[in-house]
Symmetry: C2
Subunit: 467 residues, 2 copies
């Protein structure tokens, strides 16, 4: 069953915008640059601007906006910090963007329960600044300073999901405004529950297509006594992957285990004036007690030697650790520095870890054949990796090649039992891969749910189930 | 919106049973004792037998059974090992029970990926026997030797969820037969994915009301180098709860942390000929490297002393450890031994851990007032605890008192931000608490999903959303 599109037609938004202006005063904008800015994330997907942007300040206000939009069957797109990577916020059918960045209050922190509740516009860095000195923290780190609402909506993760899980594992409860403008609460503050359908997880990763997430309860974690980082070189990706598999299997609770391929290391050395050996390299972080971290490092060191590693460097002091991770995080800019004027097209596949070495090796061969500059970075503990394909924005042929490379990567990963997206979401970019991944049966279930919960198809229409 | 019940009416099942007999041969039964046996779990809820029991051997067979049932709008109840505790399998509107116990194959084990795929009838002990000597195991332990399908359908957990999570965290992918008899696959073998709606989590905990789960992919874990157990007495429940909070907050990765109250300890001493101090007691288990376990035990010991603990005993050897956990597991029988001829009525609330001491203390006072014999056991690391109310099956007044006590426990837990069920599910027993817990908005979303995915209301009708 295809979701009906008949409800979504271009029409005169002026009466609605007037109603919204009455509700919001100057917190609605139709200024062209504001519209443009809200019509894209950080990906290559062309901007598609909404008709107006509302800056909501409360769940009740979001509900009121949605009710007004629903009355005129107007599309609604929730917007956090605009850092999405697959065209999630593009207003492909126009409509009203609800910018949640002014909903930026940390509503409660329960130290004893290691949880908190925040408004959707709070960013992860803001939350961790708020928690500073409390001895607890929120671990999920997707790189960008994304909003918690956006991270929830795309089921984001990042470098330390291997230890702390993704947004799937760390969202406890939600407040959501439904497609009819009702305020719904999912989940409780209990750590576990068997009470009925898991609506929390249904909304996590739904990219605004089932409702607008306005508040999120999150798990937090105690800061560990010690943190160390390490960097180690491997003769090839396969050895690095095999060392990773053994690390996970032995239950070493690594907090981060990231591959950076030799191409990226070269770029980093040039950009960050570092002198890392230009080999396929793992960057790691260990959290635990002092003795525990030392033990983890020793165990990992032994494993890595088994797989031919060399150049093991251990960054025990915070400053060294920060420098090491800065180099890792600068990879994107390092790549750009080698290709001035280009922009990055980031891919995002995830496979069972046993297939990771094959998947990366085949992808590398594919990249070599393509002639593209596309170094690799990956969250190897999860089987998730990215190529950043650096493309000349004026070179259509190069862009077409990148699209093809990405498509082959996805199909390769899916063929290995993996997924078209480990952490970036579907947006517009991955829609075409949904049916192959899930099969007609599961897609029909998703479409049935969408049609039932959003019968007018106004919640971020054209995403996820339009495949 | 209430799910329509008009489709479910008593009618002549004979033609359907004949069709099923043609499909299944002698693997369908209408024998009275077989029907009775499939009309209840292990709880106090009265038996409500189905009209026939089908013993399916494959997903395709389940799909064929469902198609035949759907054609005559006949209710379908999936049945695993019959260990549910809230009346999940009662055929309250009659219909066809699909017994999955013959679907007992472990389909694949991927050692490197720490995952496996099993048919729904595989029990957790069977899976662990299968994995024996492989160095990996499946941790979830709800006590009973439940089927993996049943554990998935009720979102079960148990003693070591504090470290390894519940079924929610450990189910990676599912094969499900929908209400129309279509075979659906959810999830992939990748550890994480942002590809669309999380159907896996929608089916986990849905108690057969959205489809029949036939295959489950599970996370597995490497056996740790060392395991130790410990037992320690506290002056009261509050001290035990506070020691637990600090343990979790310091990130000590306890594998189990269970409270057994003084009333249960007395019963255990009498039954198991042990001589535990008859105080509120924590039973613990630590998993890790040898040095790691020693460190965990030391850290916990220090914390427990801060909270007035005494009698710390450490069971390092497997034999001692087994004896210790056997005593804990025998609690139910120990209670029965003190009240011969009685049966246990098990409650199951879960609260934020900061409220656990209050919740247990108030519950104890309530029990004392009630005059019932109802000792307490709990998975304190999760904030989840049970009273086992021992009742005389012939004493209606005592049963009524137990029902009232349970109701007050649930309302107390919900009032503290908790849930009516930490791990047993809704079934029939907790239906009346759903609306208070979730609110009308979330209940309406659940009912809308149910109506969309099971428009004839044939999948385990009368459960979860009939509230």
């Amino acid at each position: 069953m295809k979701v009906s599109e008949s409800a979504i037609e271009a029409c005169d938004r002026e009466p609605l915008i007037e109603q919204l202006r009455t509700l919001l005063g100057d917190r609605i904008s139709t200024n062209r640059s504001v519209l443009e800015q809200h019509g894209h994330g950080e990906s290559w997907h062309p901007t598609q601007a909404p008709d107006a942007v509302c800056f909501a300040q409360s769940t009740e206000e979001v509900a009121a906006i949605v009710k007004l939009c629903a009355a005129s069957q107007t599309p609604i797109i929730a917007f956090g910090s605009g850092t999405s990577l697959e065209g999630q916020v593009q207003a492909i059918k126009g409509g009203i963007c609800i910018d949640l960045s002014q909903m930026n209050q940390v509503l409660e922190v329960n130290q004893e329960d290691l949880d908190c509740r925040v408004q959707a516009g709070v960013t992860r860095r803001q939350l961790n600044r708020y928690l500073r000195d409390s001895g607890i923290f929120f671990p999920i780190d997707p790189g960008a300073d994304a909003s918690i609402g956006g991270m929830t909506a795309t089921r984001a993760s990042g470098t330390n999901a291997v230890r702390y899980g993704t947004m799937r594992e760390n969202v406890l409860a939600l407040t959501v405004v439904s497609a009819s403008g009702e305020i719904i609460r999912t989940g409780t503050r209990a750590r576990k529950s068997s009470a009925g359908y898991d609506l929390t997880h249904l909304f996590v990763g739904s990219e605004g297509t089932l409702g607008v997430i306005t508040e999120i309860s999150l798990r937090l974690y105690g800061l560990t006594e010690a943190i160390s980082a390490a960097i180690v070189n491997f003769p090839d990706v396969r050895s690095a992957a095999e060392a990773t598999i053994q690390t996970i299997q032995m239950g070493i609770p690594v907090a981060r285990i990231e591959i950076v391929d030799s191409a990226f290391i070269k770029a980093i050395n040039a950009y960050s004036k570092t002198d890392y050996a230009e080999l396929d390299t793992l960057f790691l972080e260990f959290h635990g007690t002092r003795a525990g971290v030392v033990e983890q490092v020793q165990m990992f060191d032994e494993i890595s030697l088994e797989f031919g590693a060399s150049g093991f460097q251990w960054a025990e002091h915070e400053e060294d650790r920060q420098r090491l991770w800065r180099a890792r995080h600068d990879a994107y800019y390092a790549g750009l520095a080698l290709r001035p004027g280009y922009r990055g097209y980031v891919t995002d596949v995830c496979v069972p870890i046993s297939r990771l070495a094959d998947c990366i090796a085949e992808t590398r061969a594919d990249i070599a054949t393509s002639g593209l500059f596309a170094p690799i970075i990956g969250h190897v503990g999860d089987g998730n990796f990215h190529t950043t394909i650096f493309i000349d924005p004026d070179d259509d042929a190069m862009f077409a090649k990148a699209l093809e490379l990405d498509k082959r990567m996805v199909q390769r990963a899916q063929g290995m039992g993996g997924t078209c997206t480990g952490e970036h979401g579907i947006g517009l970019g991955k829609l075409k891969h949904m049916r192959r991944e899930h099969g007609d049966g599961a897609i029909e279930v998703m479409q049935t749910i969408k049609a039932a919960l959003d019968p007018q198809n106004i919640m971020n229409p054209g995403k996820i189930v339009d495949c």
